[in-house]
Symmetry: C2
Subunit: 506 residues, 2 copies
Amino acid sequence: MLNRVRSAVAHLVSSGGVPPPNPKSPDLPNTTSAPPAALPETPKSLPARAGSGTGTGSGAPAKTVDTRASSSRPTFLQLSPGGLRRAEDQAGRAVQSPPDTGRRLPWSTGYAEVINAGKSRHNEDQACCEVVYVEGRRSATGTPKEASRGQGLCFYYWGLFDGHAGGGAADMASRLLHRHIREQLKDLVEILQDPCPPPLCLSSSPGAYNPSHLVGPQSCWSSQKEVTHESLVVGAIENAFQLMDEQMARERRGHQVDGGCCALVVLYLLGKLYVANAGDSRAIIVRNGEIIPMSREFTPETERQRLQLLGFLKPELLGSEFTHLEFPRRVQPKELGQRMLYRDQNMTGWAYKKIEVEDLRFPLVCGEGKKARVMATIGVTRGLGDHNLKVCSSTLPIKPFLSCFPEVQVYDLTQYEHCPDDVLVLGTDGLWDVTSDHEVAATVDRVLSTYEPNDSSRYTAVAQALVLGARGTPRDRGWRLPNNKLGSGDDISVFVIPLGGPGSYS
Amino acid sequence: MLNRVRSAVAHLVSSGGVPPPNPKSPDLPNTTSAPPAALPETPKSLPARAGSGTGTGSGAPAKTVDTRASSSRPTFLQLSPGGLRRAEDQAGRAVQSPPDTGRRLPWSTGYAEVINAGKSRHNEDQACCEVVYVEGRRSATGTPKEASRGQGLCFYYWGLFDGHAGGGAADMASRLLHRHIREQLKDLVEILQDPCPPPLCLSSSPGAYNPSHLVGPQSCWSSQKEVTHESLVVGAIENAFQLMDEQMARERRGHQVDGGCCALVVLYLLGKLYVANAGDSRAIIVRNGEIIPMSREFTPETERQRLQLLGFLKPELLGSEFTHLEFPRRVQPKELGQRMLYRDQNMTGWAYKKIEVEDLRFPLVCGEGKKARVMATIGVTRGLGDHNLKVCSSTLPIKPFLSCFPEVQVYDLTQYEHCPDDVLVLGTDGLWDVTSDHEVAATVDRVLSTYEPNDSSRYTAVAQALVLGARGTPRDRGWRLPNNKLGSGDDISVFVIPLGGPGSYS
């Protein structure tokens, strides 16, 4: 990801240079959690709180957990100090995975990562894999509502966080985003388990959902929208992303939340996978050899019209330095009065316009592919953090153009009988920059076919093969792929989540 | 379409009640046109300026053409005064098509229409089918550039305009939109015929494209976007829609441009079909039985987030009457302090919020399906006109929320060998409200199979069958379909354009 942010602006992002204090999570009460083993969603092979990346798992109180240094790696890698040094060695770029021995990740999920080739000091990707228990909201008296006792919800959670301009935001998101999601779901514990449609309006009394809190018979309204359970989970995830981002804004000074991060997270809840993406990571399902895209990338190119519309409606956000118009290349002063191609917030095609003085400003959106930029600075348009990000040599903030909201795609696991070779692959852009969806599917097929279906290490083998394939071989540290093209010099992180077979949810 | 605009607001739209004066088109110079017969794009069966709906065809000067009364129908129907009365008879609802005798429409295009069942006095749909010749822009001296002489372009054009709250906008668009497109294409006549990539910058001198006007070698720039010929045509169409809308704004008082209209137009130019849609009409290709969607509908539901973002960024557009938040039903004053589901401009899911006083305002977007509305008034979010449209019992204008920009989809006709049964079907929402894509494809198949492939009347037969099928049978004027469901009481207009076979472009 670092190559998507001009290194020139890194120094503009506040970082006191002091060791981070022990961050607290004032918004996240230390609710108790029951072990998921008592719940019907428990997978057969569930390890005891497996993959609790940094000790911030659902059962751990917040105050004991936030001591990870900015250069640390997910705890589920179980790295020794020596192992951590090897993981951070940018000359060797050893691929890291959880050890064969010890706890498996939930669903026997495979994971592998590799550090970048020297673009930033540390690996700015972070990852999280958790089983999270959600208890219904407590009543005003502090005791759980009678109706909700023993009826909590359990969700499985995987997250990849691709940091830029510092590792603080990715680190914080990997520790806390799933807890924000849990908080949002607390209000829904009983509603989601009630086969009736969700109530449109609830009484204002605190505490869990109770049918008696329903306000009036719904049928008395002439027109009302149907709201699905699924859309409530989507709303909970969306709001959790926003609250995570707001927490970063509040705590950025005290806790060195430097930089920003893309976030790609997956929830498994009540039979459905929710894939939420904010940034340029990617998720695909490989099912019976078929590729099912589960996310879209958000970049200056894919979000050009949203960005231009904002600049058009709020020109003060552009200062006197930028124009909301896009040109196919930079306009030169000597071209004043000539006619150049342009497009505005309403256009997908191009047309000629006479160049005026204002057109000499730098375009809000410029470049293409991996070189596309917002305000000549950042190459992704959604994610968490970046509250201190300014245009180079300027005080103009970039954050107003960035969105913290994910796009959530839902996949109903019960609609299809999955075999052990069906997987959901999550990867940061380091993977996808040099690997197509079809190449990923081919690697999935090739590697899985060499393992027995009940070998729980096969998904880790796939993740390792994908990371190795994207990194390439050293060739004097030029990191080349077999076809002699350049491998990815970026941080690469990959989850391979099996959708059926041993270690699966069912 | 009328049922998509509350009749209550119709009176708010300015209409002086006086006969329309002879509208002029000051922005559209009366350029001369060469007959298309000399051009390589000419179809074998091209009639002499066929389908010149109102005499406003490409060859007619503007000043002679704008005399169509607001209740008139496209001239290519060749209706006598008696025929016009029958066409406007809302009890009989006779299906209208061009006569078998006389000129065929270009490509043997089929067309049929029917008036609504009494929802508005006149048929507010309009249609246009033209062959338009584009001559390169003239030089400052008034003579065509040497290089452009005899090298003009020809495009085929079909347009459906579904009016609401008056027929003026649809009528004006059917007469003039293709001329705005022609004006936009004039600058591109030579560029589009030059196999080289389009120049990014041109000298400012007026006149046609000339390679010598290219400013500097393109390769000296380190970074520039590739711009395709196709994207220039798309940009020309987009700008033509905007200029058409601006002309309606300028002339609305003098020329009684009442109401607004959805616009669905198709251009065939240099081997490609450009399908531009602004509103809720629809285009599909039926190819070898397969359905290829060629447009998306723009409604308060599909554009909810765009509308909400605008209301959020520009709250003054909402007055004190509307909230940008969406609720699944109207919030009642007695529900203050309770928690209701909502979603904002960033959310696709729903979440609960405590109801505050501001939430009692009417939602900017409400309702679903055909009952979805912007500001409780209009059911489409893109189109031309509506400059006088106000919220009922208010001075709040709705136009800022409406977009005049189409979405343009491109279909390369040369990439596939089409048979005589492959067609592009364009229909106003009166068709699609009661007919699925698959039902349309089945009707296409059924009707075409009863005609010889070289029978040029077969596409009109399909259009008639589609309109009849959507209208239904009278059954005491209840207009019922065979399954006893309600037929469409709306105006219905349909083009059926063959993509291969007799009368086609090749």
